[in-house]
Structure formats: C-alpha cells, structure tokens
C-alpha cells in the first residue's frame, strides 16, 4: 500500500519534459516534490500563476503571491502572472498538458465526483469543473476506498458529478489504472498489494489482463 507521498511519487513518473501541469489541493500538491531528474515542468496555479516554486522561507511570505490553495508560494525564473480569465483560457484551451486532482468517486466511464456531498456543507467546485472538462490528460490521485472501506472506483458515481467521461488515469494507494471504454484497466499494483486485493476494493468494471507488475518507485 502506498501512503500519500507514495501516490504523489508514482504520479510524478508520468510527467514529461516540457509539460505544464496543474496540481490540485491535497495529494496532488505533493507531486511537485518528486519531479524526476532531467525533466523540466512548469506548474500552473489557476489563480493566475505559472512557474510556481516551493513555499517561501519563513519571513519571506508575500501576501500578494499565493497559490490556488491560498498558500503562500514563490515563483521560479521564467514564471509569469496573469488574470483569472487568461488563466482559464490556458486551461480551457488545453495549453496545460496535465491536471492532477483528488476525487471522492470515479466511475469506470471516466465520470468524476469531487465537489459536493448532498446534505453536507458545500464549499464549491472552484476551478475543478473547468479543469476536468477541458484537460486532455487528467490523473486522479486518491485512496482506493473511503473511510468506511467502500470502493471509490465505481460502476457509476453516486455523488453529484464534477465532470463526465474525463478521467484518463487513476493512481491510488493500491494501484495504477487507466480508464478505458471497457472500464478500469489495471496497470500496476502497489507494493504488497495483490490483484485480488484490488479486485475486492474495486466496485466498477475491472480489466485484468496478463501479469500485473508491481509499481517501481
């Protein structure tokens, strides 16, 4: 089983040189800590920042420089600042090559739900609906099951949707899966996790073809 950092580390392997990447709040943010050597990517923050760097050293925080999670950040050389409409022009116009975000549920047709639980306080979708509707390449980072042990990889989402048919890949604490026309296709197992474990934890259609390698971190 992977921890949060393990999930982030595995996702970082998907990065390609020259990509612009938008990382959501939570596990996705950690991906920035595991950029493979020799790979140069730029991080986009949808509040209007490209070339986002690490958090500032204490005392160097700038109230006028935050990320989409409202955290103080820094900028790297080559970065740029822009307004919200240009920021989403980048996203909607598919100039950002990869979006990594968390989810409450993913369906085996690529539907995603990650913004609203009926009956609970709803904070809003922020930029998530724009991101999932536009991005060509969406990786979901999440735990395979919820706190009650129920699968989050479903035949059909039960929560209100964030987007339809948009998720391409999922990295959980148990597995790496592609979303295909036939359902979730198992690509890799987390260390110490069996195919059987994954089958038991996956409610949606799961395709297991041949040997499933353990992921390398």
């Amino acid at each position: 089983m992977l921890d949060r950092n393990g999930i982030a580390q595995r996702i970082a392997q998907e990065l390609q040189n020259g990509w612009y990447v938008n990382l959501g709040i939570g596990i996705p943010t950690l991906v920035a800590n595991y950029i493979p050597e020799g790979i140069s990517v730029e991080f986009q923050s949808e509040n209007g920042l490209l070339g986002m760097g690490p958090f500032p050293y204490e005392g160097e925080e700038d109230a006028d420089l935050i990320n989409a999670g409202k955290q103080t950040v820094t900028m790297l050389p080559g970065g740029s600042i822009f307004d919200s409409s240009l920021s989403f022009a980048m996203i909607r116009g598919q100039h950002v090559q990869l979006t990594v975000l968390g989810a409450m549920e993913v369906a085996d047709n690529g539907d995603i739900a990650n913004w609203k639980i009926p009956g609970k306080m709803v904070k809003g979708m922020g930029g998530a609906m724009d991101l999932v509707a536009s991005a060509d390449n969406i990786i979901v980072a999440m735990s395979h099951t919820n706190r009650k042990g129920e699968s989050k990889l479903l035949r059909q989402c039960t929560l209100p949707l964030t987007g339809v048919g948009c998720v391409k890949k999922i990295v959980t604490n148990m597995a790496v899966l592609d979303v295909t026309d036939q359902g979730f296709k198992l690509l890799e197992r987390a260390p110490g996790v069996s195919v059987e474990d994954i089958k038991n934890a996956t409610e949606g259609r799961l395709i297991v073809e041949g040997d499933i390698p353990e992921m390398r971190l």
Binding site: P54, E58, D64, T72, D83, S134
Partner: protein
Amino acid sequence: MNKVVANAREAIAGIEDNMTLMVGGFGLCGIPENAISALVELGASGLTCISNNAGVDDFGLGLLLQKKQIKKMISSYVGENAEFERQMLSGELEVDLIPQGSLAERCRAGGAGVPAFFTPAGYGTEVAEGKEVRYFNGKPHILENALHADFALVKAWKGDRFGNLVFKGTARNFNPVMAMAGKITVVEVEELVEPEALDPNHIHLPGVFVQRIFQGSNYEKRIEQRTVRSRD
C-alpha cells in the same frame, strides 16, 4: 481626465440596497479592503455579491456577512467562515456556485460586450441544468451568459488619475475582469501615482474601464494559509 475621489466613502457613493456588486480578489488576496469597510459603514443591504470567494469570518466579505448585508453570493468556492455556513444552511443566504473559469470568463464577457459563450465546463453536472447544450467538434458545451454589476469594487497596486491600473503578483486574479464588467468601477490602489510614472506598455488594465479611483490606506493584506519551508 481625473477620476480620483477623496476616499472609500466617496468612491462607493451610490451603492444602494439590492444592487449587484462584483468584488475582486482570490481568497483574501487582492481584495478591496477599504471599499468593503466603507460598505459596512454605509450599510446597504440585500446585496448580490459576485466574488470568487466570500472571505473569512472577520475579514473580507465576511464583514458584510456579519452585518447581514448580503442576500446572495455568486462564487466558485465559499464557506471558509462559520457565519457564512450558518446563513447558508438556515436559508438566509442564497448561494450560486459556478465554476471558477466560467466565473472569470462571464465577467470578462460582461465587460467585453459578449452576451453569451459556449464552454465545456460543467457539462453533465448540475451547473448545466437549464442551460443550452451544443456539440462542437464532437464535444459537448454549455451556453453561459455574461455577468454584469452595478458596481465593481476592485483593488490594484498602482493607478493614476486616468484610472490606468497595475496589479501585483496573484493579487491580480479577478480584479481586471471585474473592473471591465462594472457599470461603475471603483478602484482602490496602494499607490496613486502620476500618469508619467506608469509605462503605457505595461498597464494591466486601461483606465477606460474605471470610473472612480482612490488611494487606499491601512492595508492589512491578511494571509489565509501562511505556508513556509524550513531553512535546512
């Protein structure tokens, strides 16, 4: 051409009950602190506020919520404060949640005279309910309308008497597009400068969109999530 007014109170003169306001900022970054304070003093109520977020309990739009001046929020992400949650759950406060990119583009569209446009964001979700769906290149899109406001309250870093604006860092965010979409756009700046002090080639928003501008004061610029790394 001189759009300078003396202070925040003068700048927001004319805001009345039940008006629609756009308020710039992302979280607490780049919010019009002075105009909000003046609006709390003015006491106009029944307001519809279009703003990406709704502030925190004791700062930003939270101050207007405390005074129950807001009837409806149009935002992409809210609820960082308890009073907001209480008012929303009790039904005192109407909340219209819309995708952040659609919010930004709808403001820009309002300012740019584009009454409606198609976007993929929200298709197949409750955001799309009641909206026209159309396919372009095989991909479904929904029709979104432009947003307008009686007043836009905007914060910039520097500005001149023509209303030309320069923003700083991510405090830019929604401010320029909301400035475009206000019938009366009120701007507060940290530094009111002479026109000659701004490079015409580097003005983020031309003064043509601005009706009133004033020198703000006592900026708190509160940080919502102070996040640092250690120096090891």
